[in-house]
């Protein structure tokens, strides 16, 4: 078992050998990830610390292994329904809508958003930016290809958000999957269409040390199930950075069991799990 003291030693070693700083990561999850890395590499903590001091590639790989990359197409359909019927219509008349997916992982959230925007006739006005600390994930997001059989839930989620209207059960539209992605049951893949894949701008980004690296402010910032891996202090810092990166009337969208704690909460109005920037 990796203790908090072990974690502290490793974090110091990583800081010495790289620009990564895990000091303000959440203890329990961080320790769990390290336990898994030790097990997978059949090493003890001292061997791991020794190895990252002299093997840069290994260290980069370890950083990738520390980050968690769970995501789904239309994860939490209720959130996407709220977005569809209550939030996005407010932006429809704007000439452009700027969107940042912070911690985009393998990209399912980006494609969910693009599909929804297209259904609402808002695709062309959207400027979409996506970042992650893990370059392997950025490549996966760009590729937009996912396993089919393992992810049958994606299709259920798609039906709930795109085909059905939870506020009017008679309002059903038939949108074929092939409009947005091709399913190949032999190859066991779901492949997003090129017009979706070409839309977003991808960039490597570390929320611990990088601020808003884009020359723009945003109407929507997604950061779902990312800051759960940070402690309170780092959470507040990142939330404040998001706040200053939001346009007037912009929204921050967190995971279903994340919330803004402490003084930073005063900068937002909370409604249906969405955080709207307050006018100061």
């Amino acid at each position: 078992m990796v203790t908090n003291e072990d974690a502290a030693r490793l974090i110091t070693a990583i800081k010495t050998s790289s620009t990564y700083d895990f000091t303000d990561y959440s203890d329990k999850s961080f320790c769990r990830r390290i336990e898994k890395i030790l097990l997978d590499n059949n090493m003890d903590l001292n061997q791991l610390i020794h190895k990252i001091g002299k093997d840069k590639d290994f260290l980069e790989q370890m950083v990738k292994d520390i980050t968690v990359n769970t995501t789904e197409l239309f994860r939490n359909p209720e959130m996407w329904q709220t977005l569809r019927y209550h939030i996005l219509p407010k932006f429809k008349k704007n000439r452009s809508i700027f969107i940042w997916h912070a911690g985009c992982s393998s990209g399912q959230e980006i494609y969910s958003m693009l599909i929804l925007l297209n259904e609402l006739g808002m695709f062309d006005q959207a400027k979409v930016f996506a970042t992650d600390i893990n370059t392997d994930m950025l490549e996966a997001a760009k590729a937009g290809q996912y396993k089919y059989r393992f992810n049958l839930g994606y299709l259920d989620n798609f039906d709930k958000v795109i085909k059905e209207n939870p506020f009017n059960f008679e309002d059903k539209v038939d949108v074929p999957y092939e409009k947005y992605f091709d399913i190949d049951k032999v190859k066991d893949t779901i492949q997003m269409k090129p017009f979706l894949r070409e839309k977003a701008v991808f960039r490597k980004h570390d929320l611990v040390k990088d601020g808003n690296v884009f020359y723009s402010k945003f109407d929507l910032i997604f950061c779902r199930n990312v800051i759960i891996y940070f402690n309170n202090k780092l959470q507040s810092r990142v939330i404040d950075m998001f706040n200053s990166s939001l346009n007037r009337d912009g929204y921050l969208i967190l995971g279903s069991h994340e919330s803004i704690l402490g003084a930073s909460a005063n900068n937002f109005e909370r409604s249906k799990g969405f955080y709207k920037k307050k006018q100061m």
Partner: protein, 187 residues
């Protein structure tokens, strides 16, 4: 009695009725936090809290990340998240890979709670169809806490309790009624 700080309950298939009975028996002024990690079907995310709340005199909460833990509340691990207790008595959530085919994983919740509360934790394993929770209950023993399993003879599915009894020497094998009496005596 030892001055326990928290009670953690793990359960899976066949545990819903047992949990309902336990919850219904606790008074509104129950002084300890109850932490529950129960497996549920992945796509049934809503309705579970409401169903449990009907009979409960205590508030039932699916905690948010970094929420401080308070006495007199029943906390339920949210669907599709692992639930940890951090030092300083705050929850933290994680979406990392499933463990024992489960998220939430009972083992992971017990590991973090026993590390945090040491001998001040009561760990209870109920009916369930897999062995998630067995190593977790062992960690409660290893940290000096008190362990209880529902009597396998009474369990709808005894896999989880039997695996727990194989993994560690449990303090008590109790019927649901005995578990309730024990919890009431702690108050």
């Amino acid at each position: 009695m030892n001055d326990y700080k928290a009670i953690m309950i793990g359960g899976s298939a066949g545990s819903f009725q047992v949990v309902s009975r336990i919850i219904a028996a606790l008074p509104a002024n129950y002084p300890l936090p109850i932490l529950m990690c129960l497996h549920r079907l992945k796509h049934i995310r809503s309705g579970f809290v409401e169903a449990l709340s009907i009979k409960s005199k205590l508030p039932i909460i699916e905690p948010h990340d970094k929420e401080p833990l308070k006495a007199g509340r029943i906390y339920l691990a949210p669907a599709n998240y692992h639930m940890y207790i951090e030092l300083g008595n705050r929850f933290s959530l994680s979406t990392e890979d499933v463990v024992n085919h489960s998220r939430p994983s009972i083992d992971l919740s017990f590991f973090s709670a026993s590390y945090n509360f040491k001998k001040k934790l009561v760990g209870i394993i109920l009916s369930g169809a897999n062995k998630d929770g067995a190593l977790g209950l062992k960690s409660v023993t290893d940290n000096g806490g008190l362990t209880i399993v529902q009597d396998p003879k009474e369990c709808q599915v005894p896999t989880m309790t039997t695996a727990s009894m194989n993994a560690t020497k449990v303090d008590y094998v109790f019927s649901t009624k005995q578990i309730i009496d024990f919890l009431l005596k702690l108050a």
